[in-house]
């Protein structure tokens, strides 16, 4: 106790205090710059910079290519200038011009390193190996100028970007947050230009499109300024006085609250109804796909996020859902074709998926962790191969699959365009989300949690492991079969190769990036992982590279996901929090205070 209350900086001003006052290692900054240079070289050499140069973000200043390029010195400038961590009891470090200098140095070194690929691309022809190390790339890197002037400009540009990155550390949070939020929104609007214009057109605001966007693509400078100022001022106002909507909602009395709940639900319904109308065909198509993956992610979230069963063969249930729908509804189904309607088939589809859940779950009941992952991975592949096999060819059509799956219809209304499909998908997503919520806060949910935390102890406390695990598999499988049924009737055909291992992996990435165990997190994850790549067609070629990078980044920086569940944060930062709690806890008794070391169990 005594050790923690003493502040070492205050006690010894002579040697420690000046060090905490703005010490930035400039040599280290240069090292950051070298790493940055390597990264920038990599990004250029894989073709991102020259490829993306065609896409204008802010006309005529900034293209996506240059954004990617200068983001590198910006990020490394930020890292180089980051002040050391302020521990409890220490004075916060004062930041100043020296930090900016460090960032500028890191940026400049990045620029200097970039000379190498430029000169190589100009003087040698290595394109048999490095396809993108071309004069075109050199031209982009030198900003279209002659070699000498261009390289100088590049270095200066990197230096400025590095200094700006460093500036993020220096500017006080009050101003930093609005500026960064504003810039982020400008770039986002520029990147998602298609979505933004479609949104404006859908809302009958065609006139505004011309104000914001240039005819050749990209934001007009005026549009960029409007977006920035708007976001900047909104952020500035609301960070001073954050709207405490939730607290105010909870403060309402019973009848008031009920009224507001109804209003909220009605408003959500109206917005949901309007989304596909406003967004039009292409965007709705993307949203449909996001919705189908979100359904799967919600199901997998129950299996992995709640019950802790690492299932890597989740695609099997998706496939069962899709194939059952195909067999039951299609007129072209090879063996039996009862030609049910979509809705009549759905209960059978869910039943079949639930059965397959039991089938997969039973043999792996006593397996945990890595072993479970490997076995389920195998099950996923077995499912695909079975659907592909000659053995089942008479029923499932082998590689030709099953075609002529009819669209679902509600009454006389047939659902066959992407905007129409959005409605059944979103309804099932809400159903799945409700099921997840209801089960999480129930006896079954607690049993799943207990199994995830400590399986043998859960069993010793009276939890029936068999039924709990099987019910997790069954519910997960049922939700995946929703997704499969919608997928089959939306595409109108099923083929075995739509159900490869990649689907399992993408769904897993969605829940890891979004935030395992949290429903909002899973939704955000689906939008980021499944929606963004469709909107940013330029990145398509680099999709898996970016997934990998994103996963590594998330594991290092935010392992609990974008919107984490409370429990998950606690779990991943347990040691830190445990220590803090140890320090701040009130003494249990007089004897506790006297105890110097925490007692350990004796054997």
């Amino acid at each position: 106790m005594a050790q923690t209350t003493k502040t070492p900086t205050a006690a010894r001003p002579g040697d420690l205090a000046p060090m905490r006052q703005n010490f930035v290692d400039l040599v280290k900054a240069a090292k950051w710059g070298v790493v940055g240079g390597a990264t920038a070289t990599f990004v250029s050499a894989i073709g991102m910079v020259p490829d993306f140069d065609g896409r204008t973000l802010i006309d005529p200043f900034l293209t996506l290519g240059y954004l990617v390029l200068f983001l590198v010195p910006f990020a490394f400038g930020y890292m180089a200038a980051r002040p050391p961590l302020t521990l409890e009891g220490q004075e916060p470090v004062r930041v100043g011009p020296r930090n900016v200098l460090a960032g500028a140095i890191a940026g400049m070194v990045t620029g200097l390193v970039l000379i190498v690929p430029t000169l190589v691309a100009v003087n040698f022809n290595l394109r048999s190996v490095f396809v993108n190390l071309s004069p075109a790339m050199a031209d982009t890197l030198t900003l279209g100028q002659s070699l000498g002037v261009g390289l100088l400009l590049l270095i200066v540009g990197c230096l400025v970007a590095g200094a700006m990155g460093a500036g993020v550390n220096v500017v006080p949070a009050r101003w930093r947050v609005p500026v960064m939020t504003g810039l982020l929104w400008v770039l986002t609007v520029g990147l998602l230009e298609d979505l933004a214009t479609q949104l404006l057109r859908g809302l009958n605001l065609d006139a505004l499109v011309g104000v914001f966007f240039a005819p050749g693509g990209g934001l007009k400078p005026l549009g960029a300024i409007i977006v920035f100022v708007l976001v900047f001022s909104l952020q500035l106002v609301f960070q001073r006085r954050p709207p405490r909507l939730k607290a105010r909602y909870q403060a309402l009395d019973q009848s008031e609250r009920r009224r507001w709940t109804i209003i909220l639900i009605a408003a959500t319904a109206v917005i949901v109804y309007l989304i596909p109308v406003v967004l039009g065909g292409f965007m709705s198509e993307i949203l449909d796909l996001v919705g189908i993956y979100l359904l799967m992610a919600l199901g997998l979230n129950i299996v992995i996020g709640f019950a802790g069963l690492l299932d890597l063969g989740y695609v099997a249930f998706f496939a069962v859902g899709a194939y059952m729908t195909a067999v039951l509804t299609s007129s072209g189904s090879p063996a039996l074709s009862p030609e049910l309607t979509f809705w009549a088939a759905l209960p059978f589809v869910v039943l079949a998926a639930a059965l397959s859940g039991v089938l997969v779950g039973t043999p792996v009941l006593r397996m945990r962790g890595d072993y479970l992952a490997i076995v389920t991975l195998g099950f996923g592949e077995i499912a695909r191969i079975l659907f592909l096999s000659d053995w089942f060819d008479p029923v499932f059509g082998g590689a030709q699959g099953i075609t002529q799956i009819p669209s679902p219809s509600i009454g006389p209304l047939e659902i066959n365009t992407p905007p129409q499909f959005f409605y059944p998908i979103i309804v099932l997503v809400f159903v799945a989300a409700y099921i997840s919520w209801a089960l999480a806060n129930s006896r079954i949910g607690r049993a799943w949690n207990a199994i995830r935390e400590d399986e043998p102890i859960a069993e010793a406390l009276g939890v029936n492991i068999v039924t709990a695990k099987l019910s997790a598999f069954v519910v997960g499988a049922a939700l995946a079969s929703f997704a499969g049924a919608l997928f089959a009737s939306k595409i109108g055909a099923v083929f075995p190769n739509s159900f490869s291992i990649v689907v399992s992996i993408i769904v897993l990435v969605i829940i890891i990036v979004g935030g395992m165990g949290n429903l909002a997190g899973v939704a955000v994850g689906a939008l980021v992982i499944q929606g963004l790549p469709q909107l940013l067609r330029e990145f398509d070629e680099y999709r898996f590279l970016l997934y990998g990078g994103l996963l590594i980044f998330m594991m290092l920086a935010k392992p609990e996901g974008i919107i984490p569940s409370r429990r998950r944060v606690a779990e991943l930062h347990q040691e830190e929090m445990g220590q803090d709690a140890w320090l701040t806890a009130e003494p249990e008794s007089e004897l506790d205070e006297a105890r110097t070391t925490p007692a350990t169990a004796k054997d």
């Binding site: 209801a438 089960l439 006896r443 049993a447 929090m577 506790d592």
Partner: protein, 262 residues
Amino acid sequence: MALLEINQLRKTFGGLTAIEGLDLHVDKGEIVSIIGPNGAGKTTLFNLISGLFPVDEGEMLFGGQSLNGLFPNQVTELGLARTFQNVRLFPNMTVRENVMVAQHCRTKSGIFRSILRTSKFRHEEAEIKARAEEVLGFFGSRLVGYRFDQPAFVLSYANRRRLEIARAMGTDPTMILLDEPTAGMNPSETTELTGLIGQLRDDHGITICMIEHDMQVVRGVSDRVICLDYGRKIAEGTYQEVATNEQVIEAYLGRKATDAAS
């Protein structure tokens, strides 16, 4: 009549005999302590009773029903709960949830009832919560109030031990096996817990069988003491009888050199 009755129990791990020909009984309303040096087979005995290990030979009866071959959750369902020597809570669940899980085998709501939120479900859920809070109240103010919603890992060591006992109580048992309940506690905490163990029997009518190394605790609450060594019962009786038993002293301290020579 004996609540727990064990006849000719035997368990080997490969070549190592952990339990050999053990007869043991615990009567209803008794507090029985099991003592013995390290490796005597005390925890193995508990693991056999609670179904964590399969039995090699012998029979275990609880309330007249055989425990042989039952899964741990079935043993708990019969009303025989236990705690663990190395505290094993669900660290990321709240204190209240830790005890609520224990009500699992006493409640019924399945998937459908949970999804539909029937009145039966809501009623049961409220009951589970109330029962959990009642059980936590057993330890006075230690685990109540703001502690309800704290994750278990922020608890101090002694409180973790208390929560383990609360969790066992949450299964509504007729008998609890306590595996070194006071290990690692300081003297005042030990005294407090000793009192609580007595209360468990006196106020809640729970029969107790515990493994304990602290002789103060053993002397304080035990009706009967059993001493194990190398998987066999070497002494049984009141604390005084066992404490003065020569074989027990020998098991703990070793034989005198002169005796060994003769």
